[in-house]
């Protein structure tokens, strides 16, 4: 009997596969970005937050800002190939780093040097990629910081896979992955969020919506109500937060991390912020945005927001401000000094880590380069000797 012939009861019911869907309401993001600083009575924003943590935030923000200006200066001195500054976005960077436990993993994008440094990475090692002496300057397993990732959104599935693997192994490890507004358009963003939700992987996705992907404004990137609304399509809660309000970002991330750790699955967080500097030192931001826009955001500076609240709450005085700036200057000075030294370079490293064992082909090429280097050293020595002999 074919279906055509059948004579079942007439069932004016929804299709058999249909079950009422989970209610999307709890997944929908806040109507406005979550904010803490300056919302209530002056000083009230710090709430019950541990004063030590507040001071840590403040110190890291100030240090981070100074790190950015120092690194940008180093590009002008030819000491860095390029630097994508996160000035204006320090609250996200710092809050992301401090939301995690030691056993957790951070998956930064190329702009997130600060987050890596705030998590404890050596400030010089963090710059290896951008200085250009190697691709990654640190062992990712040591502080559980994945390599700063350049191909946009491609680190997101890594974070999901790692978090999933940890969960399968019974470890309560959370992965926090960072990405920009532009990066959310990539297919890898979609696939990563979908895998995370299906697997209920303990991941937190932090989108720093700084309004631009290089020159392309958000309106040309998406027509979504907000980037946080993208969570709904994966069955994942979306949260919207003022990315310049370090306490707000911290709260939202903290909740998301706890949720992930306790088996509640992934969260998508959109932090609304602004990139005050150009895309990188090589970019000319005047081509695509106005001074007015930048000025408006300077009014909403993450450091100023926190500083005022801490002062109002009596947790910071001029001396504290001064101390933080001093510490930042020290970091900058140390960075400058160390970056002014030429990094040790061994061209033979090029062949060492392509495979566990170099292939015969690589050994041949290594022999050739070794011979070239020896010849060059010889002739350099010869010409040096020549100099002295004169």
């Amino acid at each position: 009997m074919t279906v055509l012939e059948q004579t079942g009861a007439y069932r004016p019911a929804p299709p058999p596969g249909w079950q009422p869907r989970t209610d999307p309401a709890p997944l929908l993001p806040d109507a406005e970005p979550h904010r803490v600083l300056g919302v209530g009575a002056p000083g009230s924003g710090v709430g019950a937050t541990d004063p030590a943590l507040l001071k840590r935030f403040y110190a890291e923000l100030v240090r981070g800002r100074r790190y950015n200006t120092q690194a940008t200066a180093l590009t002008r001195q030819g000491r860095l190939a390029v630097y994508p500054s996160s000035t204006g976005q320090e609250a996200c960077e710092v809050a992301a780093a401090l939301a995690l436990e030691q056993r957790d993993w951070l998956f930064p994008s190329y702009r997130d040097t600060l987050a890596a440094v705030a998590r404890g990475l050596d400030p010089v090692q963090a710059l290896t990629l951008l200085r250009g002496d190697w691709h990654t300057g640190y062992d990712p397993r040591e502080l559980r910081i994945a390599p700063l990732c350049t191909p946009l959104a491609t680190q997101l599935p890594h974070a999901v896979g790692l978090a999933h693997a940890a969960r399968l192994q019974g470890d309560d490890v959370v992965a926090l992955a960072m990405i920009g507004d532009g990066g959310t358009s990539e297919g890898d963003f979609h696939e990563a969020l979908n895998f995370a939700a299906v697997w209920r992987a303990p991941v937190v996705f932090l989108v720093q919506n700084n309004g631009f992907a290089i020159s392309v404004p958000l309106a040309k990137q998406t027509a979504a109500p907000s980037l946080a609304h993208k969570g709904v399509g994966y069955g994942m809660p979306g949260r919207l937060v003022d990315g310049n309000d370090v306490l707000a970002v911290h709260q939202v991330l903290d909740e998301a991390v706890q949720r992930a750790r306790s088996g509640g699955g992934p969260t998508l967080v959109e932090a609304v912020t602004y990139r005050v500097d150009a895309h990188t030192n090589a970019d000319d931001a005047t081509r695509y945005r106005s001074e007015d826009e930048i000025a408006a955001w300077r009014e909403h500076d993450p450091i100023v927001l926190l500083e005022r609240e801490l002062k109002a709450a009596g947790l910071l005085d001029e001396e504290g401000v001064h101390a933080a700036r001093e510490a930042a200057e020290e970091t900058a000075a140390a960075l400058r000094a160390r970056m002014n030294e030429d990094p040790p370079l061994d061209p033979m490293d090029l062949f060492e880590h392509v495979y566990a064992e170099p292939t015969s082909r690589l050994r041949e090429q290594a022999d050739q380069l070794r011979a070239e280097l020896a010849a060059a050293a010889d002739s350099a020595e010869a010409s040096n000797t020549g100099e002295w002999d004169k």
Partner: protein, 354 residues
């Protein structure tokens, strides 16, 4: 109660006919049993056992987290596998067909191939990407690509492809056990090829990177791999009638490339034909022929010839036989290896080549 035969110390286990597909499945099973960090993931690899049934039974034996059906997204599959490997697992990814590995190309080229190098060896990725490849199975568009040229051109990957049942087992186990990422190309049309083989007593297989001389001969060398190995063996048999005694080399591993074995053969025979299904232009045979021409220059009695797929998008099934290198084309190429040595030795002086 009864003296069951099972109670007796068993003799060497019977070697029964097994297909390459079975041997591959067994290799996965044995690696998963041996190493709890081995995880299989891909589309339909769980309940269904894969569209070629290579993973059949793994989910039942090891659970659906060790052999996991994923959402349908190849970049996501490979990308999450990278993350799993970063945490210390040994993922084995199945791409359903050659052409459906392309969405994962960026993950493969920009991450899988580079993570070890990027981190100065701190973060190797012991990850295997299984890709059923090649044609000859009557597959419709996008189901018969030979994509090995893309992988060979990507430093940081190993590229391995078996042609026999024993190699399928041995090389897949070696690939999974390798601390380097391996693109493991499975010749679809050999999935159902058979050989006497026993999982209890598998033949030892040389480590990745070693070619196998499948047939010895002195007249000329056929250099080939994967789906074209049986074609070359058949051509070598047929060539006996013409008085040619052909050597057939199965590369098994395209990266690393076993230059030693291949050059030794070609230096001895003085003539070579490279045979593969992939398109000719800028295909695997380009590298092989260039390398042989360079390294065996003074031994070559004739130019190294290539018999390959045509330089066209993979054809529809009803026309694929015209695309695939068959016995006749191999023999034709062998015939063009300038056997009239008078002419050959004179030629060096500069006459027009034929």
């Amino acid at each position: 109660m009864t003296t069951a035969p099972a109670a007796l110390k068993p003799a060497a286990p019977a070697r029964k006919p097994a297909t390459m597909a079975q041997a591959l499945g067994r290799a996965l099973r044995d690696e998963m049993a041996a190493d709890p960090s081995v995880h299989v993931l891909g589309e339909d690899v769980g309940t269904l056992g894969g569209v070629f049934r290579i993973t059949d039974g793994l989910a039942a034996e090891f659970g659906d987290e060790r052999c996991a059906d994923t959402p349908l997204a190849e970049a996501g599959i490979l990308g999450t596998a990278v993350g799993m490997a970063m945490y210390g697992l040994r993922p084995v990814v199945e791409m359903q067909f050659d052409a459906f590995a392309y969405p994962a190309f960026e993950q493969l080229v920009s991450h899988v191939a580079r993570m070890r190098n990027r981190t100065r060896g701190a973060m190797p990725l012991p990850l295997t990407v299984r890709v059923p490849y090649g044609g000859g199975i009557g597959g419709v568009e996008h189901h018969s690509d030979s994509s090995e040229a893309y992988y060979m051109a990507t430093p940081g990957l190993h590229v391995v492809t078996p042609a026999t049942v024993a190699d399928a087992y041995g090389l897949l186990r070696a690939a999974i056990a390798s601390d380097d990422p391996v693109v493991f190309l499975e010749p679809k049309r050999l999935y159902w090829s058979k050989a006497e083989w026993s999982p209890q007593d598998p033949e030892p297989v040389a480590p990745i990177g070693r070619a196998a001389v499948r047939r010895s001969g002195g007249s000329a060398t056929l250099v080939t791999y994967g789906p074209s190995v049986p074609v070359c063996l058949e051509a070598a048999e047929a060539a006996r009638e013409e008085g040619w005694d052909l050597e057939v080399i199965d590369l098994r591993s395209l990266v690393p490339f076993d230059e030693e074995t291949v050059c030794a053969s070609v230096r001895r025979t003085g003539r070579a034909v490279v045979v593969h299904e992939a398109n000719g232009f800028a295909g695997p045979g380009g590298e092989i022929a260039a390398r042989l021409s360079e390294r065996c220059f003074h031994y070559l009695q004739a130019p190294v010839l290539r018999v390959t797929g045509l330089d066209i998008p993979y054809p529809p099934p009803m026309l694929e036989q015209h695309h695939l290198p068959g016995v006749d084309r191999v023999l034709d190429a062998v015939a063009r290896l300038q056997w009239e040595s008078e002419w050959t030795s004179g030629a060096r002086t500069g006459e027009e080549a034929p």
